[in-house]
Amino acid sequence: MSFQDFLIISPEIVISFTAISVFLLDLFINNKKFLVNVSIAGLLFSFILTLGLSNGWLIESPGVYAFFSSIKLDEFSLFFKVLIILSGVAVIGSSGEYISSNIESKGEFLGLLLLSITGMLLLVSSVELITVWVSLELTAIPLVALVALGKNDTSLEASLKFLILSAVSSVVILYGLVFLYGYSGSTYFNDIFSYISSTTSSPEDLIVLNYGLLIGIILLVLGISFKLAAFPFQMWVPDVYQGAPTPITAYLSVVSKAAGFAVLLRIIYSVLGGNDFSVILSNLFSIIAVFSMTIGNVMALRQNDIKRLLAYSTIAHAGYLLIGVASLNISGIGENLYSGPQGVLYYLAGYAFTNLTAFLLIIGVSKSIGTFELSGFAGLRKKSPLTSFVLAVSVISLLGIPPTVGFMSKIFIFSAAVNTNLTWLAIVGVINSVISAYYYLRILKIVFVDPENNQSEIKVSKSISLITLIGMIGILLLGLFPSLILEIAEIAVMSIVNI
């Protein structure tokens, strides 16, 4: 262990110490507004450190290992670290008012959220199985407690359901990791990769090895589908999204999903590389993608609670993203070798802007109208034109209409699928987008056309307005100039590929 090791994980260190000091300050300080400021300051400081790491101010260049090669700082992890920290800033920054009115244990709320962010930051940069699993649990366990912190008694119920499924999924992931470890003999991604690709055993040994690894990978993918909110572990999503405090719902739908995709992509490209497993994996992901999209979109059609509706829409989006994951270039020849994962990274960045904007606006609006029912949003246009415009932009981006980022990211994902001979999957995706138009346009109709049915005044707090405006600008900017993210995404994907 050298000093550089600590520099490499300095963003995580800063955030976890912020979390601990928030826990301690909460015991001795009554001004809870101060705690929010401390948390944001910690996140911003670690953001600066992350920028320093990527620009070479703190270390020579990305692509270095730390702590006995269990953590790797590369462009891929830096991409996700920036995404996660900024989403964390957006969630905490805009939920100050929500916390002061709806959450009883304010210090715990902020501290646990910061701990969960720490876990995600470690998760996206870990390249060793034990580290992966421990950081996975560090993200999951605080989240369970966070879901339980809401004031309504449905929170506890949602939290217990979340805990049981989360524990089951993490044990399934763990079983998968154990099989990977057991049959390859190492917990390090690079070693597993070298062992798989350069194995010189006898044919019988090879069959055993392949079956063992295959069981491990299938278990791993099934377990990770919980983090992605995808089929077959998708049933927790609507209940938990509805029961959890709304900032946590926003956090779950964006950050948790991004971290899940990060670890999935890293395992596919760093551990398995371009060998025979790719075919099986591609088929597996295609099936999961089709089921997730269809279940999400069809179930969303008849929802009247906006949080439940967005929950099902999240499942559908996990399906679209999995199309990009399934677009593995098996042959290893051609031009756009990694357009699939590149599209996934772009999609995730766009989805973070879009979904955070939508959810944070819902926090602001529902506080004024006092309900999450869709009918409560009727006549929003007359009461607050700016709010309804921003909401419209984010809904249009979720649906995928130009000039938003949602449109461009769907284009990239679907074209990646076509490039890798998965045209049928792209067609299923397009059909699903058409189905999803029904419920997204229904939101717009309620907001813009329906007459208002209550007289409540819409007052959105300044922080929410500011952050959602930035989000809207991001949606339009990334939609018009996709190359801003795409080039970074390409470098990021290249940094995890083992050939």
Binding site: M1, I20, F23, L24, L27
Partner: protein, 131 residues
């Protein structure tokens, strides 16, 4: 090798037989003592009842416990499980410190520092009080 293996079971068998015979013998001696009028025999309700620390039993055993017990049990589980990290560290401290120097000690101090913060938190929150 195989003989040796079964010999070990033989020792366990001997142990089992002794463990059964001793209490049985004690009961038998006590019963015999009754016939030669050494041990008096006058049963009462308290003597026939369940033994519970010498107190009189006043309810079934399937009654609810105070929730406080569970809070203590939870805290105990959390702090108890830290031992699982302390133990291998303590056993291999000599080897590790030769390799990595003082940072081995610092790492464990950091770990215990975080655990202590958890303890302070629980204390300050009043979870260690019986209220």
């Amino acid at each position: 090798m195989l003989n040796n293996y079964f010999d070990q079971y033989g020792i366990i068998g001997l142990f089992l037989i002794t463990a059964t015979l001793v209490p049985l013998g004690m009961l038998l001696v006590s019963k015999l003592a009754q016939y030669i009028k050494v041990r008096p025999h006058n049963p009462s309700e308290i003597k026939e009842g369940m033994y519970e620390c010498g107190m009189r039993v006043d309810s079934d055993r399937w009654q609810g416990y105070n929730l406080r017990y569970y809070y203590y049990a939870l805290l105990f589980v959390i702090f108890d499980i830290e031992t699982v990290f302390l133990f291998p560290w303590a056993v291999k401290y000599g080897v590790l410190s030769k390799e990595f120097g003082v940072s081995v000690l610092l790492a464990m101090i950091l770990f215990l520092f975080v655990v202590t913060i958890g303890y302070v938190y629980a204390w300050k929150k009043g979870d260690l009080q019986w209220k």
